[in-house]
Symmetry: C2
Subunit: 345 residues, 2 copies
C-alpha cells in the first residue's frame, strides 16, 4: 500500500475532513501549510463563492489541498412527504411566529456537476474528494485528467470494493463514530454501519489502494491506533471545530465543549440524510430519524428558518450541531498546532 504522503505529496498523513457549513478556505490553508491535507467543502458553495475560496487557498499555500463535493442523485420532489414534514414542524413555526408560506422549498445542495468540473479545471486542485459514492465515470476521468487524485468514502467493505473498482485512488473508511453525514451509498440500511475499529481492518484487507481511517479519531493516540489497524492515514473532523480558523458558530462551539457532546446521534432531521450530531431539542422531540423528512437534501429548507429564529434567541435547539462520538480532541488552538499534536508532537 502506497503511503498517502507520497500519493498526495504531503508530509503528515492526516486529512482535515471537509465540513460544509463550519469551515472554508482558512482552515484548509492552515492545515495544508502545516503539512497535512486541508480540505475545502464545496457542497454549499455557489460558483462565485467556490472561485473566491479557491483563489484564497492558492494564494495562501502552494502545498496540496483537497476540494470536496457531494455526489448524490437529486431526488424527485414528493409533495406529500414535503407536506407531512411541514406539518411535523408546524408547532415550531407557530412558536417562533414563522409564516410557513414564506419558506421556500428547494434543493439546498447541488451535487458535483459539469459546471463545477469546468470551474475546477482552471485550478486543477491536486486532490478531489467525494461523499456518497463517485460522480459519473466521465466526470471522474476528467478530474483525473489534470493529475488529481480522487478520494471517496466507504462505510462498508462492499462500498470500499466498489470505490476501488470505479477509480478511487484512496478510500476513506468512515466508522460510525464520525460526525456529519454518513457516506453510505450502496445501502441505506444504517444497521450495516460499523465502528472504526471493526471497519478499517476489513477494508484494508479488501482493497489495494491506501485506506484513510475516519471516525472517533481525536488525538495522537487515536491516530496511532488507526495506523496500527493498517490505515495509511487518518481523516479528522470534529477536533478542528474549536480552532479559530473554523467558522463554527458560537453556539456550536459551546455545545462541543460541554457535556452535551457526550451524546450524539445519527439524525436525518436537518437534511434528509443520516448525519451525526449532538442531541438537541428538535432531535429529542421528533426523534433522530423521521420518516417524514424529505429525501436529501430536500429536508433542509423547512428547518432553516427555525434554526435562524432559534439562533437569534441564542439557542441551538434547531441547529445541526455536527459532532463525532469523540469531541474530547476539540481544542481552541490554531489548526497548525492541533495538526502537530495529532501527529504526536
Amino acid at each position: 500500500m502506497k503511503s498517502i504522503q507520497e500519493l498526495f505529496g504531503i508530509e503528515i498523513p492526516i486529512v482535515q475532513a471537509p465540513m460544509a457549513g463550519v469551515q472554508g478556505s482558512a482552515l484548509a490553508v492552515a492545515v495544508s501549510q502545516a503539512g497535512g491535507l486541508g480540505s475545502l467543502p464545496c457542497a454549499l458553495l455557489g460558483q462565485e463563492a467556490m472561485r473566491a475560496e479557491l483563489e484564497t487557498i492558492t494564494q495562501g499555500t502552494r502545498r496540496p489541498y483537497n476540494v470536496n463535493f457531494f455526489c448524490h442523485v437529486p431526488p424527485q420532489p414528493d409533495p406529500a412527504r414535503e407536506a407531512a414534514w411541514r406539518a411535523a414542524l408546524a408547532p415550531y413555526y407557530a412558536e417562533f411566529g414563522i409564516d410557513p408560506a414564506s419558506i421556500p422549498s428547494g434543493p439546498g445542495r447541488e451535487p458535483f456537476s459539469e459546471a463545477a468540473l469546468e470551474l475546477l479545471e482552471a485550478w486543477r486542485p491536486p486532490v478531489v474528494s467525494f461523499h456518497f459514492g463517485l460522480p459519473a465515470a466521465g466526470l471522474v476521468a476528467r478530474v483525473k485528467a489534470w493529475g488529481a487524485k480522487v478520494l471517496s468514502t466507504a462505510t462498508t467493505v462492499e462500498e470500499a470494493c466498489w470505490l476501488e473498482a470505479n477509480g478511487a485512488d484512496a478510500i476513506i473508511a468512515q466508522g460510525l463514530e464520525a460526525g456529519g453525514h454518513r457516506g453510505n451509498f450502496l445501502s441505506d440500511d444504517q444497521s450495516r454501519q460499523m465502528g472504526t475499529l471493526a471497519l478499517v481492518p476489513q477494508v484494508v484487507r479488501a482493497v489495494r489502494v491506501p485506506v484513510i481511517a475516519a471516525g472517533g479519531i481525536a488525538d495522537a493516540q487515536g491516530v496511532a491506533a488507526a495506523l496500527a489497524l493498517g490505515a495509511a492515514g487518518v481523516q479528522v473532523g470534529t477536533a478542528w471545530l474549536l480552532c479559530p480558523e473554523a467558522t463554527t458558530s458560537a453556539l456550536h462551539r459551546v455545545a462541543l465543549a460541554s457535556e452535551a457532546a457526550r451524546h450524539t446521534v445519527v439524525t436525518n432531521l436537518f437534511t434528509g440524510r443520516p448525519a451525526r450530531g449532538i442531541v438537541n431539542r428538535v432531535i429529542r422531540e421528533l426523534g433522530p430519524i423521521s420518516p417524514s423528512a424529505p429525501a436529501f437534501p430536500l429536508a433542509t429548507s423547512a428547518m432553516l428558518p427555525l434554526r435562524a429564529a432559534a439562533e437569534a434567541r441564542g439557542s441551538g435547539d434547531f441547529s445541526s450541531l455536527w459532532s463525532g462520538q469523540n469531541a474530547t480532541g476539540c481544542r481552541a488552538i490554531g489548526a497548525a498546532a492541533l495538526l502537530r499534536e495529532l501527529a504526536g508532537g
Copy 2:
C-alpha cells in the same frame, strides 16, 4: 494505571470474553494455561453444572481465571407483553408444528445471587466479572473478601465512573462493535452506545483503574490499536468461536465463516435485551428490535423451541448467532495458538 498482567497475575493482557452458550471450561482452561485470562460464563449454569465446570478449570490450570455472571434485576412478568410476543411468533409455531401451550414461560437466566456466591466461596476464583452493572454492595464485598478482583463492563463514560465508584478493580470498555449482550445498565438508550475507538480514550481519561478495550478487536493489529488508545488490555470474544475448545454449534460456525457475518445487528429478539448477532430470518422478518419482546430474560423461552426445531432441520433461522462486527479474526485453530497470534506472535 496498573497493568492487568500485574492486577490479575497473567502474562498476556488479553481476556477471553465470557460467552454463555458457546463455550465452557475447555476454552477458559486453554486460554488461561497459555497466559491469558480465560473466562467461564455462568449465566446459563445451574449450581451442579457450575461446580463441575469449576472443578474442570481448577484441575486443568493453576493459573488465574475469571468467572462471569449477569447481574440484572429480574423483571416482573408482564402477561400482556408475553401474549403479544407469543402472537408475534405464532406463525412460526404453526410453520414448525409447535403447540404454543407446550412452551413453558420462565426466567431462562438467573442473576448473581447469594447461592452462587456461597458456591464460589469454596473455589475462590481469582477474578469475577459481571455484566449489566454490579450486584449489591454486600455481595461485591464478599467476593473481594477472598482476594478476587472484580470486573464489569461500561458502555459509556457515565457507566465507567459508576463502576469505579462502586468497587470495580478494572473496567471493560465495550464498544458497539462487540458481539453478544450490550453491557449498558444506566441507560437503555442504544443511541448512547459508542464505537470502541471513541469510547476507550474517553473512559481511560475518566477513571483511574485499568481499562480493558472490547469490541471489534480480532487480531494483533486490533490489540495494538487498543493499547495505543490507552487501554491496559483487551477482551476478545468472537475470534475464539471457531476454536475447537469452543462449543459453538456447527450452524453458528458456518455463519461466522461466511459472508453473512458481514452484517450483524443489535437485536432484542432472543432474550429481551439488546445483543449483537448475525442477521438471520427471524431478525429480517420481525426487525431486530421488537417492542413486544418481554423484558430480559423473559423473551428467551418463547424463542427456544423455534430454535430447536429449525436447527433440527439444519437451519439457523431462529438461532442467536452472536458475533461482533469483525468476524475476520475467527480461526479454526487451538485457543492457545490464537492467543499467541493475538499477542503478536
